[in-house]
């Protein structure tokens, strides 16, 4: 019987410092046979193992058609991620996955797609933006709303500038604390709803960020007539196994690792924002 807990060795091909605490690791399996059979969709995650320390769940940000490397953008905030931030090209780690349910990109085809993120990085959605931009003709309007705490926290500036030049694409950024030179909105990401064009019934919304920000966004979307079932969100919880066995990531009945991390809002509505779940 196969051991589903066993990682495979991967090598760090490149390490990119995105912001003071955010970095991207481009990985390649050391066994060349492992890469071709490895299929994933944006929004899914891997368990990344740092030798002697442990595993952590990290979402995959590379394009699923990219077969050369497997990219993970990581924020150094915990025991494992801080240690991962010190790795360099050539270093080896362990990878197992992909796990969970990704973003409903097939369902989004032919629709307006609104991507709303808050906080640092929000890698799970940047991979979706890149995915859509690379297949622009399959989707209708693209609305990107990103909020950060401090304007200096915004990563991938150039990409946002590039994306806003694309046809049928609207980019709206907000920073709660704006440094000199910030040309976007100063305030919360939810304030951007008054400027955004959202066509309810035609739009599918992907949310990623701190839960209060997602809840505030869901409220604003509801005010604009967007149906609950057109709203999807990516959740984060403690994960040890990634397989739906260990019990740490449950929000009521759903296991975030197995039934999520991407959920249609109705599946979480009863418990979202309820302290302790």
């Amino acid at each position: 019987m196969q051991n589903p807990y066993l990682p495979r060795e991967a090598e760090i091909v490149e390490r990119i410092q995105e912001a003071p605490t955010i970095f991207t690791l481009k990985l390649r399996f050391t066994d060349p046979a492992a890469q071709p059979g490895y299929a994933y969709v944006p929004g899914q995650f891997n368990m990344i193992y740092l030798y002697g320390i442990g595993e952590v769940a990290i979402s995959i940000v590379s394009d699923p058609d990219e077969t050369e490397t497997l990219d993970h953008t990581i924020r150094a905030v915990g025991r494992v991620t801080r240690a991962l931030s010190r790795l360099k090209p050539g270093d080896r780690i362990g990878v197992r996955g992909p796990y969970g349910r990704g973003w409903p990109l097939l369902e989004a085809q032919g629709k307006d797609v609104a991507l709303i993120t808050g906080g640092l990085g929000c890698a799970p959605l940047v991979s979706v933006i890149r995915y859509i931009v690379a297949r622009r003709e399959r989707f209708r309007r693209l609305l990107i709303m990103q909020g950060v705490k401090r304007s200096d926290d915004l990563i991938w500036h150039e990409q946002y500038q590039r994306w806003r030049q694309l046809p049928d694409t609207e980019v709206l950024l907000a920073a709660e604390v704006a440094e000199p030179g910030w040309t976007w909105h100063e305030g919360l990401v939810t304030a951007l709803f008054d400027r955004a064009e959202i066509d309810p019934g035609q739009t599918i919304v992907f949310l990623c960020g701190p839960e209060p920000m997602m809840r505030a966004s869901i409220y604003e979307l509801g005010q604009r007539g967007v149906a609950d079932e057109d709203i999807w969100l990516s959740m984060e919880r403690n994960m040890h196994c990634g397989l739906g066995h260990c019990g740490h990531c449950m929000i009521g009945a759903p296991f975030v690792c197995r039934n999520g991390p991407v959920f249609p809002y109705p599946e979480l509505k009863a418990l979202l924002g309820k302290k302790g779940f």
Binding site: M1, Q2, N3, P4, Y5, L6, P7, R8, E9, T30, Y49, Y51, G52, I53, G54, E55, V77, G78, T81, G90, D91, R92, I93, G94, E236, R237, N238, H240, C241, L243, G244, H245, C246, G247, H248, M250, G252, A253, R258, A270, L271, K274, K275, G276, F277
Partner: protein, 365 residues
């Protein structure tokens, strides 16, 4: 269903152990250790808790020795089948770092020997059904659980001595074992009624010096089991409490029980359906090797819900509520039944005697 029952006189009971041993099984059964009935390897009937009764009330467990002949005249001890299938600690894999910096991942295939468990109770067989679904019928079957589980030969003993904390009759799981076993025994003073439920069980039964049970023996055994259900004094308000519990997440009783609960994790460690576990790395001192273990965990710990700076359940109120709303609430969505089998262990082994049936009655009233 059951064959017409066979009867094995008490004097021939040792034959069951020797037949199991010659069929290649290591026998595990109840015995008294440190003042409790525990399931450990037994070498003969003299190891069984003959004449032992137990007294269980909230927060208390005591054994009493009598001169009575029976081996199974007690309710359950702190644990039974759980550690035999879902072990407290398993090494999932190990990693070795080579001088060139590469990492060699190694997985030792789980080894399990055939084990015959004598004295499985209906509550514990119901719990095993849940574990089977969780660990084996997963998209990622667990190799350690599966290896041990597939080597188990289960001999149920229908329960005739429920404790004051037992409530399997109200959950529908006992006191009669109705599935999940190879052989089932009804204990009478002078012997056992024995019934096979699987081919493996038939083979063992065929090697035993049984004779046909009398109608009177069958009637006595049935009556004792039925009485055991009727004697139970505790019960759950209903078999599915999901909707009522999730509608009462702000009930004042959650605060009240949190004042008594020590968050000690005992209830989750004796519960035969709790499956939470953590994965931990243990690195060698010279750094050349690291082993990756899975260990029992509990939703009552601070670390259980910790994620980079945030603890989702920072206090006892939210942890107790998580345990109970999961166990008898969201469990229905995950497994198609409640996670409570009515064994009463969480009541007995709670150091402050919190009673799940009382808490549920107060919240659901």
């Amino acid at each position: 269903m059951a064959e017409p029952s066979h009867y094995l006189p008490r004097s021939e009971f040792p034959r069951l152990l020797s037949v199991l041993a010659s069929a290649g099984y290591r026998c595990v059964g109840p015995r008294v250790r440190d003042g409790a009935v525990v399931y450990e390897p037994i070498s003969g009937v003299e190891d069984l808790p003959k004449g032992v009764h137990d007294r269980q009330v909230p927060g208390q467990y005591q054994l009493e020795q009598t001169a009575e002949p029976r081996f199974f005249a007690w309710a359950n001890g702190p644990q039974a089948l759980r550690p035999l299938t879902f072990a407290g600690r398993d090494k999932l894999w190990s990693a070795e770092r080579k001088p060139d910096g590469s990492i060699d991942f190694k997985s030792d295939p789980p080894e399990a020997e055939p084990v015959a468990v004598i004295g499985a109770r209906a509550c514990d067989l119901a719990a095993l059904y849940v574990y089977d679904r969780h660990f084996m019928q997963s998209a990622y079957p667990d190799p350690w659980y599966t290896a041990r589980r597939q080597k188990l030969f289960l001999i149920a003993v229908h329960c005739t001595h429920p404790s004051l904390n037992c409530f399997c009759a109200s959950t529908g799981d006992g006191p009669r074992a109705s599935y999940g076993y190879d052989l089932a025994l009804s204990e009478l003073d002078d012997g056992f009624l024995i019934e096979a439920r699987s081919e493996k069980g038939e083979r063992i039964l065929a090697a035993l010096p049984v004779r046909e049970a009398s109608a009177e023996q069958i009637e006595t055994a049935d009556r004792e089991i039925e009485d055991a259900g009727r004697r139970q004094v505790k019960g759950l308000p209903s078999r599915n409490l999901k909707d009522v519990l999730f509608a009462r997440l702000d009930h004042p009783r959650w605060n009240e029980v949190a004042q008594r609960c020590l968050s000690c994790t005992n209830c989750t460690l004796v519960c035969p359906t709790c499956f939470c576990h953590s994965e931990n790395d243990v690195a060698s001192l010279d750094g050349s090797r690291s082993e990756h273990y899975r260990e029992w965990d509990s939703c009552f710990t601070q670390r259980h819900s910790y994620i980079h700076g945030i603890t989702i359940r920072p206090d006892t109120r939210t942890r107790y509520r998580q345990w109970l709303t999961h166990k008898v609430g969201s469990w229905h969505d995950q497994f198609g039944r409640s996670g409570c089998v009515g064994c009463g262990r969480c009541i007995t082994w709670c150091p402050v005697g919190i009673d799940i049936t009382e808490e549920l009655a107060a919240i659901c009233r």
